[in-house]
């Protein structure tokens, strides 16, 4: 029997996405059947079915904690929206304070913008941290669902009329995703440190 070249991308996808302890055996089984003559389309179909089954397992396993995690993340975002509204209401006071502190107008605008951007980023980090902490069993799944919900809901908040509105929104969304992923990473690091201490 002549050896057929392995399907690198599909195999890479399986290695990256499957979490189960038998993931390597599953890939081995698929490679074995591919070597025995199954087509590359069969292999791709099987790979996608395996990834889908794995995601379905994670959703089933997460149960209510997936919903609670997404809601917790949204609480952080809505808290930021409230705080942001308060800041905008007092923006005149902030400019007045900065002017009296000797900051010129241009610098003042920049400082207020920077404060808003940092606050927004901090809240997105907090939301990602919360989501990953609440659904600690499947943090990647919870973060993916949360990022998708942020995409859909913040897009619906936009009053998009011109192409550059989309561009601005995309920059904001990119910042949000960066913050959420950073928060999830911090939660994962904390969990790692904790498990090193407790040995669990």
């Amino acid at each position: 029997m002549t050896s057929r070249p392995p399907l690198r991308i599909a195999t890479w996808l399986l290695q990256r996405c499957l979490r189960g302890r038998h993931a390597e055996s599953l890939i081995g089984d698929l490679l074995e059947l591919h070597q025995e003559g199954k087509s590359k389309w069969w292999y791709w179909r099987q790979a996608l079915a395996a990834v889908s089954a794995d995601i379905a397992d994670a959703v089933r396993d997460s149960g209510r904690s997936l919903i609670v995690a997404v809601v917790a993340g949204w609480c952080a975002i809505l808290l930021w929206r409230e705080l942001n509204a308060v800041l905008i209401a007092h923006i005149g006071d902030m400019y007045w304070f900065l002017r009296h502190a000797g900051v010129d107008r241009g610098e003042g605008y920049f400082l207020v913008w920077l404060l808003g951007a940092l606050l927004r980023f901090a809240f997105f980090v907090a939301s990602g941290w919360l989501v990953a902490r609440v659904n600690a069993r499947h943090p990647a799944l919870a973060i993916a669902v949360f990022v998708a919900s942020v995409f859909l809901i913040t897009l619906s908040w936009q009053q998009v009329r011109l192409p550059w509105h989309y561009a601005v929104w995309l920059v904001h969304y990119g910042m949000a995703v960066t913050g959420i992923v950073a928060g999830a990473w911090l939660a994962a690091r904390r969990r790692q440190r904790y498990s090193m201490i407790t040995g669990s």
Partner: protein, 110 residues
């Protein structure tokens, strides 16, 4: 938590393992189900089911040999635990009691 019942796929996978004996790993399990029922289960679905059953201690696994055709990856063989066997028997009993006494399903009425 005690498992109340087996799903149809779980039952099929467990029966295939029983039929295959020492040769029960992903590929033959999927092939056995396909041969006996005509249902084509993706290998990933078989493994996902096996993962659930193993978590509930209804099956146990053992790592087998690796071959070049498998990209150097080892096979994982599965067998039923005593608890798994008991669960299959209970499922068979409860299904049997549902089937019994249905006149339309009696072989002599066909």
């Amino acid at each position: 938590m005690k498992r109340q019942h087996l799903s149809q796929t779980e039952l099929m996978v467990m029966l295939a393992i029983l039929r295959l004996g020492r040769e029960a790993y992903g590929v033959p399990i999927a092939e056995e189900i396909n041969k006996r029922t005509g249902r084509e289960l993706a290998i990933g679905v078989v493994y996902s089911t096996l993962g659930r059953l193993e978590e509930d201690a209804l099956v146990r696994s053992e790592t087998g040999e690796a071959t070049a055709a498998r990209g150097g990856r080892a096979k994982t063989y599965f067998e039923l635990t005593a608890k798994g066997l008991k669960q299959v028997r209970e499922t068979q009993r409860s299904l049997q009691s549902l089937w019994n006494g249905i006149p339309q399903l009696r072989s002599d009425s066909a």
